[in-house]
C-alpha cells in the first residue's frame, strides 16, 4: 500500500489544485476558530447575560476538542472537493485506463484512492488536533483529553465525505458533473434532513414518539449529527420539544454508510468499462 501511495503522491504533489485546496483547508480551520475565539472574548464575554449560558470558554480544555472539531468540520468540503477533482481528472484524461494498462489491477486503482481518502481525513484531523492544542493552550486551562471523542467524530465525518466524493466521481466520471452533483447532493440532503427533523418534532409533540432526529440517519448528516455546536446550550432550552440525540444509532448509521459506499464503489470499479 505504501508503494501505491508513493505513486499517488507523485501524481498529486505538483498539482496546483492540491496545494491550493489543502492550504485553504488549513487556513479555514485556523481562521474560523480564531474568529469564534475572538467573538467569544470580545463580544460574548462583555455581555453579562452570557454567563448564564456558558460556564468557561469553549476553548478551555475539555470543550476545545468539541469547539474546534465542530467549526473545522465546515471546511471538510474542501478535501472532499479535492478528491472529486483528482478522481474525475483521472477519468477525464483517461489516466485511470493507463494506470491499469500499465499493470495496476482495477482494485489497486480503487484501493489507492480509498487510501488517499483516509490519508486526507487523517491529515485534516491532525490539523484539527494541532489547532485545538494551540487554542487550548492559549486559553490557559489545564490539559485534558476529556471530549477527545469529538476528534474521532471529526475523523468519521471526514472519511464519510471523502467516501461520498469517491463514489460520486466513480458514478459520474466527469469533473464538472461530479463537483456539481456533490454540492447538489449536500444541499438536497440538508433539505431532506430539515424536513425529517420537523417530522421528528411533530411525532414527539403529537404522538409522544421520540425516534431521535430522523435527519441524522441520512448519509452525510449521520456523521454531521455527531458533531454538535459548543453553544448547544441555546438548543438545550428547547430540549423538551426537540427529539433526543441517539448518538449510538447515528454512529452506527455513519459506519454502515461507509461500508455501503465502499462496496458500491468497488462494484462500480470492478464491473464497468473504463
Amino acid at each position: 500500500m505504501i508503494k501505491l501511495l508513493k505513486i499517488e503522491w507523485l501524481k498529486i504533489k505538483s498539482y496546483t489544485g492540491f496545494i491550493l485546496l489543502s492550504s485553504f483547508f488549513a487556513l479555514g480551520v485556523v481562521t474560523s476558530n480564531y474568529i469564534v475565539f475572538m467573538f467569544k472574548k470580545n463580544v460574548l464575554d462583555k455581555v453579562k447575560a452570557s454567563e448564564l449560558l456558558f460556564s468557561g470558554s469553549p476553548f478551555d480544555f475539555d470543550m476545545v476538542w468539541k469547539t474546534v472539531s465542530y467549526y473545522s468540520s465546515y471546511f471538510l468540503m474542501l478535501p472532499a472537493l479535492l478528491l472529486v477533482i483528482l478522481m474525475s481528472n483521472e477519468f477525464s484524461y483517461k489516466t485511470h485506463r493507463q494506470n491499469i494498462i500499465d499493470g495496476w489491477s482495477r482494485f489497486e486503482f480503487l484501493k489507492v484512492k480509498l487510501a488517499l481518502a483516509l490519508v486526507f481525513a487523517l491529515a485534516s484531523t491532525l490539523v484539527v488536533i494541532m489547532t485545538a492544542l494551540v487554542f487550548g493552550a492559549t486559553s490557559g486551562s489545564p490539559f485534558s483529553v476529556n471530549g477527545f471523542e469529538n476528534i474521532g467524530y471529526f475523523l468519521l465525518k471526514a472519511v464519510t465525505y471523502n467516501m461520498i466524493a469517491i463514489l460520486i466521481s466513480l458514478l459520474t466520471k466527469k469533473s464538472g458533473v461530479a463537483i456539481a452533483l456533490f454540492f447538489i447532493y449536500t444541499i438536497f440532503e440538508n433539505g431532506v434532513s430539515l424536513l425529517l427533523f420537523f417530522l421528528a418534532v411533530k411525532l414527539k409533540k403529537d404522538n409522544h414518539l421520540d425516534l431521535g432526529n430522523l435527519g441524522n440517519y441520512l448519509p452525510m448528516n449521520a456523521s454531521d449529527g455527531l458533531l454538535t455546536s459548543p453553544f448547544e446550550q441555546f438548543s438545550g432550552m428547547a430540549r423538551n420539544i426537540i427529539p433526543a440525540d441517539n448518538n449510538k444509532l447515528v454512529l452506527a448509521c455513519a459506519l454502515i454508510y461507509i461500508v455501503i459506499f465502499y462496496f458500491w464503489s468497488k462494484r462500480k470499479m470492478m464491473r464497468s468499462d473504463l
Binding site: S14, Y93, R97, I100, D102
Partner: protein, 307 residues
Amino acid sequence: MAILHIDNLTKNYKSVKALDRVSFTVPAKTVFGILGPNGSGKTTLLGIVMDVIKASAGTYTWAGNEGSANDFRKKIGTLLETPNFYHYLTAEKNLQIAAKIKGRGEADIEKVLKIVNLYERKDSKFNTFSLGMKQRLAIASALLGDPDILVFDEPTNGLDPAGIAEIRELIKELYKGGKTIIMASHILDEVEKVCTHVAIIQKGILKTVGSVADLMNTSAVNADVNCLIELSAADNATLKNILQQLEGIASITEVDSDLHIACNDKITGETLNRFCFDKGITLNKLHVKRKTLETRFLEITGKQSDK
C-alpha cells in the same frame, strides 16, 4: 508459442454488437496487425485484453496466463487509443509514474525519450505538447522496461510523415529484435508495410486472419484475384451493371466517385477500356494497381465504411 489467444470474444453495447465471437491467436515474435475500418471493434478488442473493457462473453489468455493477470500486463508496453498522461506533469514525471506502476526502474526513461526524440522536451509539461509529441511520449512509455510484447493502437495517429516513417522503422527494428507487436490500424498501407500477420475485422466480425503473405496469395472469392482497378464514367451505375457481365471480376466497390474492382490479371487496362467502349461507356478514369492489401481488404470487406 502463442502470445495471445482470444476465444469467442463478444462485446455488446446495448443493441450494438461491437465484437461478435472473435477468435484468433497471436504467434510469438510477429508483427500482428488488427485491421479494420473505423468503428470495426479494434480498440474494443484491445481494451478487453488490457482489462479496461469488460467482455460480454468469451475469454482471452496472455501467453498461457488465464484472465487479466495484472503482473503480466506490467510486462507489456501498450498505447491504447489516445496518449493518456497527467496534463500538469512533465514528460519525465509522467514516465516516472508509468515506470513505477510497471515495477521497472527509472534508468531507461532517458533512453526511451531519446528513441522518440523527446529528450530535449523532458521537462516540458504534457499539456504543452502537440498531438504528435503526445503520441511519441505514449510510444516512449510503452517502450519502458524493454518489454517483449508491445500493443499499439493506431501508433502513427497525429504524426507527421517523417514521424510516421520513424515509428514504422522502430516497429520493424523491434520485430527484428525478437519482440511481438500487436498493432491495430485502419491504415492499410501501414499494416502492409510493417505487419507479418493480420486479422481483418469488420463490424465486430473477424473476416480473416493469417500471415500477410498467405492472405495476399489466397482469395476467398477467386484464387486469381491480384489486381485493383480504379475507374469511373459519367454514369457509374450503368458502368457497374456492365462490369458485372465481365468475367474475372471478384468484387466491385463504390468509393467516392469511383468504382474499385478487384480482378485477376487477365483483365488489363486495355481490355477493360475496350469492353466499356464497346458497350457504349466512355471512361473518364482508369487506374490499374498491383495487388495490395487494399485489394484484398476491399475484396473481404466489400463496403466503403462501417458507418
